[in-house]
Symmetry: C2
Subunit: 430 residues, 2 copies
């Protein structure tokens, strides 16, 4: 499925959504009270898959009534052979050589909806959300800032993809405004023993991540083996794991981040499938294999990830009409892959369910410009970003909008994620 | 609603389920294919609330169709005035002076089902599970073992109820067998820098906790204030937060416990309401107020908890026919109350939803016999429990069944939780 595929729907070469992509999402109509349902996207149109189902156009190849749901969980749970069938059928229906949809104006009007007429929803009911810490450069940067260069990586870091359980109820869709959190911050930033004061977070940050949606789950007590992990992975979204650095600093010993992370995590609405990403498979920046070699349950013959270009920009009144780009990174900067994360997550027998979300952890490259959080970019506030005369940023200010984007660059086309955005609203202290 | 209340259903004085209790649970019939539905319990009978609803016996005081659901989430979300109405109506219908149910043999046969004929289910679809660390003696014990007496409590401990996000998918109902997890444990227990080996957990432990089910939630970005917290709390269950101590030791820096906790947490099936627990309100062992005084958002005028007696026993072939009791504790041994936990959880604006579960953290008292985990009881394995000649325990062995129970002692009656049990199955290494 290369760049030579064409649809009768015109798609700009810079669009993230050519016929090679066909991500899945959940949408509702702005001007109708039809319930939320599943769609895919091509160019500037959402393709209503519930309408295609109702028109019988999936021809009973699988139970396509899952597209009438207000979440992707059922489809996610159906597994790879169904996903691949659905994708083939959609690419066929949208192809420039297929008259069924192309030449039926009435059907087209029901099925192809301009993106401006829809409101995107969360793609799935997320049972559990887990966040990893699996980019080596990010872990090294953070470790160096807080524990010094010699003790940068925790002892276990090179042996497993370290992760923690996150808060599923506060995973929000792109565009949701995020209230600056309040909580406890240290009286003396250098000494937690001096205690804390209550107040608004002063060091609010984004974390540039990819999110993985789990497809079929596993039975409680039965780990997912590394060689089977790929079949349990439905697709990817952009993820902004908002972080309150000062709240985190006081609370995180010994049980990890809690309030610093649970106020919001934003995700992009379109889930890009592994089938669409496959042509962009690439070695990770870490090389041919993890080094040192991990324990067998984490060893994968095809140690690889995807070449996904990632960018973060800030939009704000004092910055001007255009967003200001603060970092460029790439999903290749992962040390532990999403398959290794899934194998590690379930090695204890932990049950995964369709629609569970795994965050990659902040994705930072080797260069300064490729760091995936303000904490790293401005090195704990010591190196503010100079945006223009009198305008700088160390962390995220009230009314700033953080915009993440990501795409794979094909020959003459892109497979992309669109945007994941979130605006910070001023705190409302009690 | 004191001890003088009586039902036409005979209830033994030692029963956990007199008419003063009336907990809620979800059950299915063993010998019929009726779907799971909501019930309460009196003595040795489950009261089928879906059948009471269908018979019109709630008289439209509220929308009692929620009792036909296979989970309590809808009822939990309805709030205190509905909960109190439902309780009053049930106590009236079950009273010895009320003929409606008492004298209608046909209705009784549909509504009162012997407990031996039902299978209990998880009471709710748990959106998010959070575990706290809020008993001072437990935190002191664990801290002393791992960091020495001087550094026992982390800096933030006296300032907030420290907690972490847990895994909702693996909260299982009492009676579910639990597979001993595998994972990475340190090669050298004294030095994490020596790396790890893969294997079965050798230091498998229980944690004696209470679980709180959240009722009505809050809007994202709007904290629950401490003075309103009580109205967001539906009820309580027993909770065994299974823990793999050796896996935890290697993985937990810096993001907290992960695989060590995500393989299973068991809860008892009956949710005892705050209305039923109210007569057993008691000061915590910590005294009149938290000392030092916490920040205002955590300060509650009625700093109190409940006097709930708790016990843990182990049943195993080498122990004999009777379970061996390994600890007696009490829910009074909390430093941070469940209301403080809820206020802290949402101080950042974190959204709670009906059916969310909060674990109290291990409940340990001052005395050795009141410690709520094998880690503490046997002090890191240095003081095994001598059960009888040649039989001892340091941690939990394969095929051991851990049995937790808890009840409030009234005058001539008990309001109890029944049991929370789980049997450990041998590991299945990959």
């Amino acid at each position: 499925m290369g760049g030579d595929m064409e649809s009768f729907v015109e798609v700009d070469a810079a669009s993230h959504f050519p016929v090679q992509n066909l991500p899945y999402g959940v949408f509702s109509s702005k001007n109708a009270d039809a319930k939320a349902r599943v769609g895919t996207r091509i160019g500037d149109f959402v393709v209503d898959l519930a309408a295609l189902h109702e028109a019988g156009l999936f021809e009973d190849a699988f139970d396509s009534s899952c597209f009438t749901h207000d979440c992707l969980n059922a489809f996610m749970g159906m597994g790879r052979s169904v996903w691949t069938q659905a994708r083939k059928r959609l690419q066929q229906l949208l192809s420039k050589d297929e008259p069924k949809l192309r030449d039926d104006a009435d059907l087209r009007a029901r099925v192809l909806i301009p993106v401006s007429d829809v409101e995107m929803q969360l793609p799935a009911k997320i049972g559990d959300y887990t966040d990893f810490y699996a980019s080596r450069q990010h872990a090294t940067n953070v470790g160096t800032m807080f524990r010094g260069k010699e003790n940068a990586l925790p002892a276990a870091w090179m042996h497993m993809p370290i992760g923690y359980h996150g808060r599923a109820s506060t995973v929000v869709k792109s565009g949701t405004a995020v209230r600056r959190p309040c909580g406890q911050v240290q009286k003396d930033p250098a000494d937690p023993k001096q205690g804390s004061v209550y107040g608004a977070c002063k060091l609010l940050d984004f974390e540039l991540e990819m999110g993985v949606f789990v497809g079929p789950g596993n039975k409680l007590g039965s780990p997912i083996k590394i060689e089977d992990a790929e079949d349990h992975i439905f697709g990817f979204v952009l993820l902004n794991d908002w972080s309150a650095r000062d709240i985190q600093k006081f609370e995180y010993v010994p049980l990890g981040p809690f309030g610093a992370k649970n106020f919001a995590s934003s995700i992009s609405p379109w889930v890009v499938t592994t089938d669409a990403l496959k042509p962009f498979t690439a070695k990770t920046s870490a090389g041919e294999q993890n080094d040192p070699e991990p324990l067998p349950y984490l060893r994968e013959p095809g140690y690889s990830t995807y070449d996904i270009r990632l960018e973060v920009a800030i939009q704000a009144e004092d910055i001007g009409p255009e967003p200001f780009r603060v970092c460029e990174s790439n999903y290749r900067h992962m040390y532990w892959t999403h398959r290794q994360q899934l194998a590690h997550h379930t090695v204890t027998g932990c049950e995964m369910r369709p629609g569970d979300l795994l965050g990659s952890g902040t994705i930072s490259g080797d260069e300064e410009g490729s760091f995936g959080s303000m904490l790293e970019i401005c090195w704990k506030g010591t190196k503010p970003i100079q945006i223009k005369d009198g305008v700088e940023r160390k962390f995220i200010k009230d009314d700033d909008t953080v915009i993440m984007t990501g795409w794979c660059e094909g020959e003459g086309y892109r497979v992309g994620f669109g945007e994941c955005t979130g605006k910070i609203l001023p705190a409302q202290p009690q």
